[in-house]
């Protein structure tokens, strides 16, 4: 490998990770060390608030998915024709759409489609990617070389195009879209888990475990995996946000769940025809997506830092 260039996966993994606001401000190189530490201490507080907020948003989104009836009394699919295209009000906090369906109800009931899709996608990427990475990292040699070149190839095709190629193969639909997005994230998981395994494997306690007669898979399971898991979890949280975005994109393009499913991307696509008159139809579902993705990224960042 060539030294000046970091591996694409490392960069992709770090580049999407939100900037760490906790780094001491290097903008003033003349600031004395003591002042910097005290300012860091001060900065801790708003950061914790944002983390709590992030968990809260994710929790609410999960509740949307699990018990939608708790949040709204309206039906997400059947509308009241007399109440069509109403602006947001106390009765309809997000307004109503072209056939009188309550938009808030559709967003709430849509959470299950968007979130479960994202979970499936991350699961596919996590399981397949980690398997490839752990195998490559622990076996080394030719297997490592071949597997990592395959990962290079996956990285050279833009994620969306790869997803579209898989979708054209599998057909349209929620699960197919989720699998397609998941395949796109295999490369990132494989790269990360391989580098983790390689670094853990070289450590003394793993050598010791082998030395005291541990067999390959038992050492892998008991020592290597638990110690490589935290960064992988951080990436999983990050990929969850990425997957929500990707799935809503596929839904928007019309390759995900079919109408009248209230999937978030599809909601925005449907509202697009009324963009001149009914701004709320596209604005609110989009804001919800932004909030959830932002929160997933924030949580990923906190897991990454604690490791």
């Amino acid at each position: 490998m060539n030294p000046p260039v970091a591996t694409p996966a490392d960069l992709a993994a770090t580049s999407r990770r939100p900037v760490d606001p906790d780094v001491p401000s290097a903008g003033e190189p003349d600031a004395p060390g003591s002042a910097r530490t005290s300012r860091r201490w001060f900065r801790r507080r708003p950061i914790t608030v944002s983390l709590v907020l992030a968990w809260l948003v994710v929790l609410v989104a999960l509740l949307f998915a699990l018990v939608p009836g708790l949040f709204t009394d309206y039906d997400p699919v059947r509308g009241i024709a007399a109440e069509k295209l109403q602006a947001p009000s106390a009765a309809h906090p997000f307004g109503t759409d072209q056939i009188g369906r309550d938009l808030f109800a559709r967003v709430v009931y849509g959470a299950v489609h968007s979130l479960s899709g994202a979970f499936v996608a991350v699961l596919v990427g996590l399981v397949v990617g980690t398997a490839i990475g752990v195998l490559a990292g622990s076996l080394g040699g030719v297997v490592d070389g071949v597997l990592m070149r395959i990962v290079d190839v996956l990285l050279s095709i833009p994620g969306l195009l790869l997803a579209l190629a898989v979708i054209i193969l599998l057909g349209f639909g929620t699960i197919n879209a989720a699998i397609a997005v998941g395949i796109g994230s295999i490369a990132a998981f494989a790269r990360l888990s391989r580098s983790e395994v390689v670094s853990v494997r070289r450590s003394d306690y793993v050598e010791a475990a082998f030395g005291s007669g541990g067999r390959f898979f038992s050492v892998l399971w008991r020592h290597v995996l638990p110690n490589s898991v935290s960064p992988v979890l951080s990436l999983a949280a990050l990929q969850l946000g990425v997957a929500i975005l990707a799935i809503s994109t596929l839904g928007f393009l019309g390759y995900g769940a079919p109408p009248p499913t209230p999937e978030w991307g599809l909601l925005i696509a449907e509202g697009r025809n009324y963009v001149a008159t009914s701004w709320w139809l596209t604005t609110f579902p989009g804001l919800i997506v932004v909030a959830v993705v932002l929160s997933a990224n924030r949580i990923s960042q906190s897991i990454g830092r604690s490791s």
Binding site: P3, P4, V153, I157, A165, F252, A269, T283
Partner: protein, 314 residues
């Protein structure tokens, strides 16, 4: 150095060949007669004779291994087969869309660089802590915005509410401005993040302390000593964003109804036009690999310190 060059180019060619093979397996081998899926649909009402004729036309009647080599030779000589949807050569359809997409992508990339540099340098230079905090939060917001939603939002605000930009019948520049912003925002985020981080990193180096100790002004230190060193890691990321630029143009062109490669991709998926999609996937991989190869080769030229190291490792 020459050995390094040859090795690096060989590696790029290998990745491209593997990408081609992957796309062949995924799009032609796995679905069986991928090209024929569309025509065997009973709704089209084609007779078995007509289908057999079409199989011959698209070369779907040959054994898989032969198809593989034929497709490979075709791709190498610029023949991407025929579009299932229109029956015209794929290369013609791609050539039609390429200028518009290249224009959009180039403009968006330049705007993304300007955005990223502004965010990073202002946040690094400012003496206001709140401004720095706000600016550092901007990239993480930018990566969380769905591109298609941003496009719709921009149309909503600037075309319909404010009436500043016409959606149809404007000049070329007017029609380009909103798509360029839409595409630039997600691209600028990783650039800004890496630039911010490497600015911070370079500030901790001893040569910066030396410059400060000698009495250099903040401006002088930032421009003469820090900026030049911090820009290099950003170049690597810039190469990697090419993939996102291509993917983003699919969405942007669909939202704004611009005819280009992105729109062609969307139409190809909807119409199950596999030859077109395959050609676009290979084209995207080719652009990605080539740009990143160029970035790698540019590195030792831009940073003379790397020259020796590259030579040794190759």
């Amino acid at each position: 150095m020459n050995r390094y060059l040859a090795g690096r180019i060989g590696q790029a060619v290998l990745v491209l060949w593997a990408a081609f093979t992957l796309s062949f397996v995924l799009l032609q081998a796995l679905p069986g007669d991928a090209i024929m899926i569309k025509f065997e649909n009973p709704e089209l009402g084609l007779s078995p004779d007509q289908i057999a004729e079409l199989r011959l036309y698209y070369g779907a009647d040959q054994p898989l291994i032969l198809q593989y080599f034929q497709t490979l030779v075709g791709f190498l000589s610029g023949d991407f087969g025929y579009s299932v949807e229109t029956g015209t050569p794929v290369i013609e359809r791609i050539a039609e869309g390429l200028p518009a997409t290249a224009q959009l992508a180039t403009a968006a990339f330049l705007l993304a660089v300007v955005l990223a540099v502004t965010i990073a340098f202002v946040s690094s230079y400012t003496r206001f802590a709140w401004l720095r905090t706000v600016l550092l939060g901007v990239p993480s917001l930018f990566v969380s915005i769905p591109t298609f939603w941003l496009g719709i939002l921009l149309i909503q605000v600037f075309s319909f509410q404010l009436g500043l930009v016409p959606t149809i019948g404007g000049t070329d520049a007017q029609l380009l401005i909103l798509p360029v912003i839409t595409l630039a925002v997600p691209i600028s985020a990783p650039l800004a993040q890496v630039l911010c981080r490497s600015l911070d990193e370079v500030y901790t180096r001893p040569f910066v302390s030396v410059a400060v100790a000698k009495g250099a002004s903040r401006q002088w230190v930032l421009w003469r000593h820090v900026a030049r060193n911090a820009l290099l890691p950003t170049l690597t990321i810039a190469g990697l964003t090419i993939g996102e630029l291509i993917a983003g143009s699919v969405i942007t062109e669909t939202v704004f109804g611009r005819n280009g490669i992105g729109r062609l991709t969307e139409q190809a998926v909807t119409a199950q036009d596999i030859p077109v999609l395959q050609a676009i996937v290979i084209l995207a991989a080719f652009v990605f690999v080539t740009v990143n190869l160029l970035v790698d080769l540019l590195f030792p030229i831009l940073d003379p310190r790397l020259k020796g190291r590259v030579g040794v490792s190759a």
